[in-house]
Amino acid sequence: MEVKLQVENEILDKIKHTFHSAEVSIPRKQRVEVKLRNDLIHPFLAYLKDTLGFKHLSHISTVDWLEEKEIELVYIVMNYDNLVEVIAKIRLDREKPEIPTLREFWPQVETYEREIHEMYGVNFLGHGNLTDFILEDWEGIPPMRRDFDTVKYAKETYFNRPGREDAQDVRTTITKKSGEEIPELAKVYSVRHLE
């Protein structure tokens, strides 16, 4: 196993040597995971891109850790030469998530940051174009946050079309129309039952 993970270990050593506070691990072949301090993400990605040759940004993802009051940003970058992917993670304060933009690194970052700003309310300082991306004129808490209640929003915003005011289960309608019985199992194990 040791021989197979040679490239990964080399990258791990280089990162550890340059960024002492980073927690680096190798979850599997072709993956290196790095947990960083917030203020280090810029120098870290610059180091990866310019010095270690990680040119391809696979994506930027966001995870809302509601219980821990943190928002996690996950940057996945790849090196085309040794085919290793680095997963870099930082955690921002959920109340006031702010971080300088990475727009100058990769052009596609602009789109990612616009979406994350819209969906999670993360403010990217210096981005300059944090306008609406998918939603239009959205007010209230950003919709992808864990405390946003989708069902409540749908009930408040949308209305039933005439004839469906009672908002009954679609299966009840089918039963009424066709006379077909719903199996007991399906009644018990509905999505609502799980919640």
């Binding site: 995870v63 996945i76 052009p107 999505v191």
Partner: protein, 367 residues
């Protein structure tokens, strides 16, 4: 005299793409000065919906992320769960998954050929290819029960075994498609009109391609050999023989020729899979899906879809439902930042043409 700048709104419905997306064009004469993508017509909040469902209930959702090519989504989500959980997949299931993925690639390329030639006014091609794609959909129907959305690949393997005599049917369709490829060559790929129309249009700078996030056929059309199936072999791709074609130029023509060569490679992969299909189990049973807790952890997996690197990043917190599932489609980059860039200086008539060759798929951008 300075030419007046005019704004044109192309879309949300137009022939360039499968789905709805608007491109706002600033033009002088018929040359585009600036392009701006507007999305939001197809947002169905899939990623949010998945957070409120059990892991297995996510499967009917993910395949809807891309209409022409739903299978990489299912395969990715299955594999990301398997990686977090450490679940083994039987060898036979892996072969069946490759079979499904390659058939899906062929179906997508057929649809793309139709779109690509349709957007330059060659309407015979879509009639042929969409008809031929139906033979593959027939195979899918027999295998999975569904024509477009399959929900067939799931954690631990596949939903059911391949039916009796299915291999022969697949080989028959492959023989037919191979024979048919000659007609496609005559009508599209060797057509001087297509060459003249596509050469030098929608050029991606080779030196910048990797940095701009270009993947899949557009990247190989720049002469850069990169394919997830080779770079990070998943399922059984490391046991199969195929080549990764590249073309120089970075234009629509190069991308088309890459796909044309890959079409042949996919046919060959399907034949190899049928020939080498091992026996045994096709499913490593998961526990009761309604009470199935995936251990805490996260993983990122990727697949080479017909349009490029398709990745899933999933996080589990040990509960019944996913904490986060993020789908990374190639169109997220191709359809927004890259498209806006390479449309500058292009002709209005080429917008749909270029969008098609990049494989723009709006549902993947909005998810």
């Amino acid at each position: 005299m300075r030419e007046k700048e005019t704004t044109i709104y192309l879309g949300p419905q137009h022939p360039g793409i499968t789905g709805n997306m608007m491109v706002k064009l600033k033009v002088t004469g018929d040359t585009i000065v600036r392009a701006e993508t507007h999305v939001g017509y197809l947002h169905r909040a899939f990623e949010k919906l998945m957070e409120a469902r059990t892991w297995l209930q996510c499967f009917p959702i993910v395949c809807r992320i891309c209409v022409p090519e739903p299978d990489p989504n299912e395969e990715n989500l299955s594999r990301v769960i398997e990686e977090i959980e450490g679940r083994e997949v039987p060898e036979r299931a892996k072969y069946i998954r490759v079979l499904v993925l390659e058939l899906s690639r062929l179906a997508t390329y057929l649809l793309w050929m139709g779109g690509q030639s349709g957007s330059m006014g060659l309407y015979t091609m879509p009639q042929w290819t969409v008809g031929d794609r139906d033979y593959i959909l027939d195979l899918f129907e027999q295998l999975t029960g569904g024509r477009v959305y399959h929900m067939y690949i799931w954690p631990g393997g596949v939903r059911r075994d391949i039916p009796e005599g299915f291999g022969d049917k697949v080989l028959k369709v492959m023989d037919y498609l191979e024979k048919r490829l000659k007609d496609y060559d005559d009508l599209l790929f060797n057509n001087a009109l297509f060459y003249k129309r596509a050469k030098g249009v929608g050029v991606i700078d080779k030196n910048k391609a990797q940095e701009w996030g270009v993947v899949g056929a557009p990247l190989r059309g720049c002469g850069i050999k990169h394919d997830v199936r080779i770079d990070e072999p998943y399922e059984v791709y490391d046991k199969l023989n195929f080549i990764v074609p590249t073309y120089e130029g970075g234009d629509v023509w190069a991308r088309a020729m890459v796909r044309r060569q890959e079409f042949e490679q996919s046919i060959s992969i399907v034949r190899q899979v049928i020939e080498n299909m091992p026996g045994g189990d096709f499913y490593n049973k998961i526990p009761n899906p309604l009470n199935w807790r995936v251990p805490p952890g996260d993983a990122y997996v990727k697949t080479e879809s017909a349009r490029g690197e398709f990745g899933y990043y999933a996080v589990s917190d040990g509960s019944l439902k996913p904490r986060r599932v993020h789908a990374r489609g190639p169109a997220y980059v191709h359809g927004v930042s890259l498209l806006e860039r390479i449309l500058q200086g292009a002709n209005i008539a080429d917008v749909s043409f270029i969008m098609n060759s990049l494989g723009t798929c709006p549902p993947e951008i909005e998810r």
